[in-house]
Assembly symmetry: D2
Homo-oligomer: 361 residues x 4
């Protein structure tokens, strides 16, 4: 991605071209060729709007096979919208959500779920992006008293915002605690494919059998142009969900183009292959930069995010050359790979890191 | 559109194939070929998300030329979302909207604007889809008293939900009344292209000079796959608008694909040509069915909607053959044309009407 | 009420003192002496807050006797709050309310129910303040389609905002239509006492047996200092209602003082006696002013409101002397009586009307 | 307060009567005699509703004297409502609030502010109930990015929920940090009187000169029957505040009775004297129980709350005898005193503690 920010010159040093695809986020990539072909193909014949079409019917059937269960699905425009629709379907306006204080719904959706639903997010501290089951027990003591927020949903992200991956057992423990307290479990699966690729567990093992009630199935960060799907394992919640879906302005008019993309990703497990590639590129990147003096990789990448610490001025120079986001704490950066990241992109980025880090010494 | 509902057989009558493209709505069509090509082209090179890309910058420039003014624009996923974002940018939560009781925001957005913004919609009766300026004066008496809803925005649709088209003068009269009462003017332009094509007035004449403050510029019903743009003539309102945009889950992640579509529609005024074609097909249809006994065309189509009255059982049979929506009153139906409607589609539909109406006699 | 606006002098005419208690509204009166005594009495002994007290328990028992049913009750601060709590308990955020366009929740609560609940109010035209059952049938066609607002509650006011009184039969017809369409019935009983006094029907006949599901039982306009009670005939709705009650900031801290007032009003049917007196004063006023040339009483007062038409300048002069509210239409005014209105007040007001009307001729 | 829970018998021990006034909360007390007299007095003459009365005008004048500034005031029903109105007046729906995770608005208002306003509460950990100014700086980095919640208000409680008291200097430091970041300062003064009594600083020093923009002036916990006042130091915010006030259902109908109570409390600084008495009773209680083995007083009471740690089963037995609230952590209890707590109440309570603690040894 040579456009936008970045560029080849830093005073006193000759930098190579930045990588074609940015490491800023997995949504800086374009669209997988199979998805683009599916969009073109779905243009004919004409079809009625709002889901009264064969692609939508095929999508429902495909997800039921994927989960081996009578799930309901609602296709949404994007990830924030899908989280809003899913959570709204699980909550009364007077109920609240337990999640980590690093959850995407807390830090990166601009307050959208709270604005639309009216619910408080009870944000728990986390060291690694995972929710501590003890938080569920502690917060559940508030249930029944009108004075306190009423936690009714536990929301977790898979993979987490720290790039870690819950084991299926860990999800099961959280779901058991939630259900024991009368709460439901929501899973923000913007990067669920990366978790499936990383663990080898399928959706039946990781999502259905653990007890997740509603999830966002992400596609945009994994090769789609747009579109995320709310999957209702608790199919009864979809009845009201349909109205939240419309009210949250998440019902696509020319609907067929969303399921057309999803079906392309599901065909021959392209979604898992895309994610496995992204994960492999993250490990390639981590291994390479870990050998560079002045850069420390935080943990071992479990999926497609590499977290590094480095001197702030080095990160500043690097981000000017090839943009990426800084995390809250000083000296911490996140580099993400995607289905579209090539070994050449990794090599180009590593070369830039090496040159700029070398100058620091 | 041979898929979905409808089919060739009605008991005791041999019906032809229904038309390829449904007359149910202009969103039953697919995507214009120029738009599809633009989507493919925008896939490379990679680009940062959320509008930090050259397509978005080009779109802003294009709209500033179109209005010859320093407008701000926010690209949204769909029409309901764009109306929500535009209206939210114009309203405090304690303020209300004046519109007709047939407005899309009242009848066809599932209550989305009210849910998100918290505002009452003060719905005024209308005979032809247009708002009576007297309603503004009458409602404005409530301003300042905490007991009454506080009207602060006048929202009109161009073209209207009844297929009629405001003249620029009519919009100017409404805007003057609104501004005189301290209110702002919102225009739902889901079909603004059809109004421009119908009147020959450009956006400078019809929107900017009349005093519209914020509008939804529609594209989906005119050849786009998805995407509508909120245009802020009152550019200062976009500062808060950006946050409503995010909160309403209307900020596309891989943003570039929305402006890429818009730019394709704006090139060589394709948007006007598409709409002019749709309007011409509506007149062709109206002229043909008006000669069929048992069918009465209501008024003369001003844009791309044909309203007809007919016996309910005839409409039922027709809709089973080629689906369309019934309006509130018994015996009233709406048939819509689009950029993709062909003379052959019109002929096929008229033939079906003729056969089924003939059997009624 | 000699304070506030008004005064004895109009140019060229010698006006008497305005009446002690204003005819502006029944909330311009003070507190009934029995209620004031109950407040003083409830000050000892100390009691835990938020309803964990004997007065609250006694109130529940009293209302169960009044309705001869296991109703649940939630005591609120005021009428708008009680309507908000009751309606919120009956609605999902994506559902809507059918009511008249003159309903207090539409015109006089500043948009509070819509702001808090997110629900559209589908306001139907009315000639006499009563809702036409046909509106329920017509709106019910929208049920099930995500595109349209979803009516789920029918809300009526007893007495109506036009001072008319539904017969119990009329309420039953509306409730049957609502229930047949799967909707619930809400009754805004800010002036329920005046209806009971006017018809002689008790709450069992008028409310329980007709099928009302949730009601606001008004007290403030009938002698209380503050406090209105949401009565849940559908007791199951109170479980969530308790949380709406807290969230709507309608849970009084030193709760006992609200039920203490209610119990004083219920004792020996003081609430009915107070209302019967108010109704009688309205008839006295109507009979007297109807004989004055230039003033026309609209209809016959059914409860405690007198509507009159008169030249605008006469109404202006009268309101300067003793304040009252003008209704929407030119030349229309509303005069209200209360438990505290005395025959002397009526006589004083009539004398002012007579003098000012006489000068008009 | 012998009613309600509690009672003289615990197996194997002879307990005295519990104290007349509960130590559960300062809202378990009744109404100060001066306030009760003011309510009776305000019953005549009649007065127009909604604040068009002389008591309301006198209240505005009194608060302007108190702050020596042209403040605006809106009288509300209760503390949650006053916080909602104040905060809503300071926030756009897309903005957020910084506060501690122990703030009343976070833990004890049932989510009311978030439900009504739509704003996220960014809850910061606190050791002593006070907000760390560093949190303001850290959160302010999010300002301007649509992806992140937008902090716009810093809300603090005086006294805090831990019974501690901010010095005026501490408030000034927080307000300076907030204003430097473009945020406003809200003060929840449900117990502001206790802080004034504890520090000797008046409202000019503690609130106006430190830079607080909007505050809740509490009265209910200090001798009123009901009513709290939103005071706008930033008087311009009251213009929109009036509409939030109505929409939050916090506009009392027979308004005069709220200012009548406030005026009684302000007369001869009764509000400060009441609070000083409550504070003195807390110290008396703390000193006495601190000498009892098995009970540890946490810190030194700064106002009218005594926090103690003790074995859970001892606290359970005590609470059965004379009810009080347990705090989140095991073994922690809060005992509160009020204007109505007598030395005899303290002695009775201490005697119960002594007897039950003695049996533990």
């Amino acid at each position: 991605m040579r456009r936008g920010r970045g560029g080849p010159s830093e005073p006193g040093i000759e930098l190579p071209d930045p990588p074609e695809v940015s490491f800023a986020s997995d949504n800086a990539a374009g669209v997988a060729p199979q998805v683009m072909a599916a969009l073109a193909s779905a243009n004919t014949p004409a079809a009625l709007a709002y889901g009264d079409d064969s692609w939508t019917r095929d999508l429902i059937a495909a997800f039921r096979r994927l989960f081996d269960a009578d799930v309901e699905v609602l296709a949404c425009w994007g990830g924030t919208g899908a989280n809003v629709v899913g959570l709204a379907s699980m909550l009364e306006p007077w109920q609240a959500v337990i999640c980590t204080d690093q959850a995407h719904i807390v830090t990166d959706e601009g307050g959208s779920p709270t604005r639309f639903i009216g619910s408080m997010l009870l944000a728990e501290p986390t060291a690694d992006g995972k929710l501590d089951p003890a938080a569920i027990t502690r917060r559940s003591k508030w249930i029944g008293s009108v004075h306190h927020p009423q936690p009714a949903v536990v929301s977790i992200s898979q993979t987490t915002e720290f790039g870690t991956v819950y084991t299926s057992d860990e999800i099961g423990v959280l779901a058991d605690a939630a259900h024991a307290a009368g709460m439901l479990v929501h899973l923000d699966g913007a990067r669920i494919a990366n978790a499936v690729a990383a663990t080898g567990d399928d959706l039946i093992t990781m999502v259905r059998n653990t007890g997740v009630d509603v999830m966002t199935f992400g596609a945009t960060k994994n090769g789609a142009m747009y579109g995320e799907v709310v999957v209702y394992l608790r199919a009864d919640l979809a009845a009201a969900g349909r109205f939240h879906h419309k009210q949250a302005a998440q019902l696509p008019s020319k609907m067929r183009f969303v399921p057309a993309q999803m079906l392309a990703l599901l065909e021959d497990d392209l979604w898992v292959a895309n994610a496995a590639h992204a994960n492999a590129m993250a490990r390639l990147l981590a291994d390479a930069v870990d050998r560079i003096e002045g850069i420390t990789v935080v943990g071992t990448p479990e999926a497609n995010a590499v977290f590094v610490t480095a001197p702030d001025d080095l990160l500043d120079q690097l981000a000017r050359w090839s943009f990426f986001w800084r995390m809250g704490d000083a000296g911490l950066a996140r580099w993400m790979t995607s289905f579209a990241t090539t070994p050449d992109d990794v090599a180009a980025f590593v070369e830039g890191v090496r040159l700029l880090a070398g100058r620091q010494l």
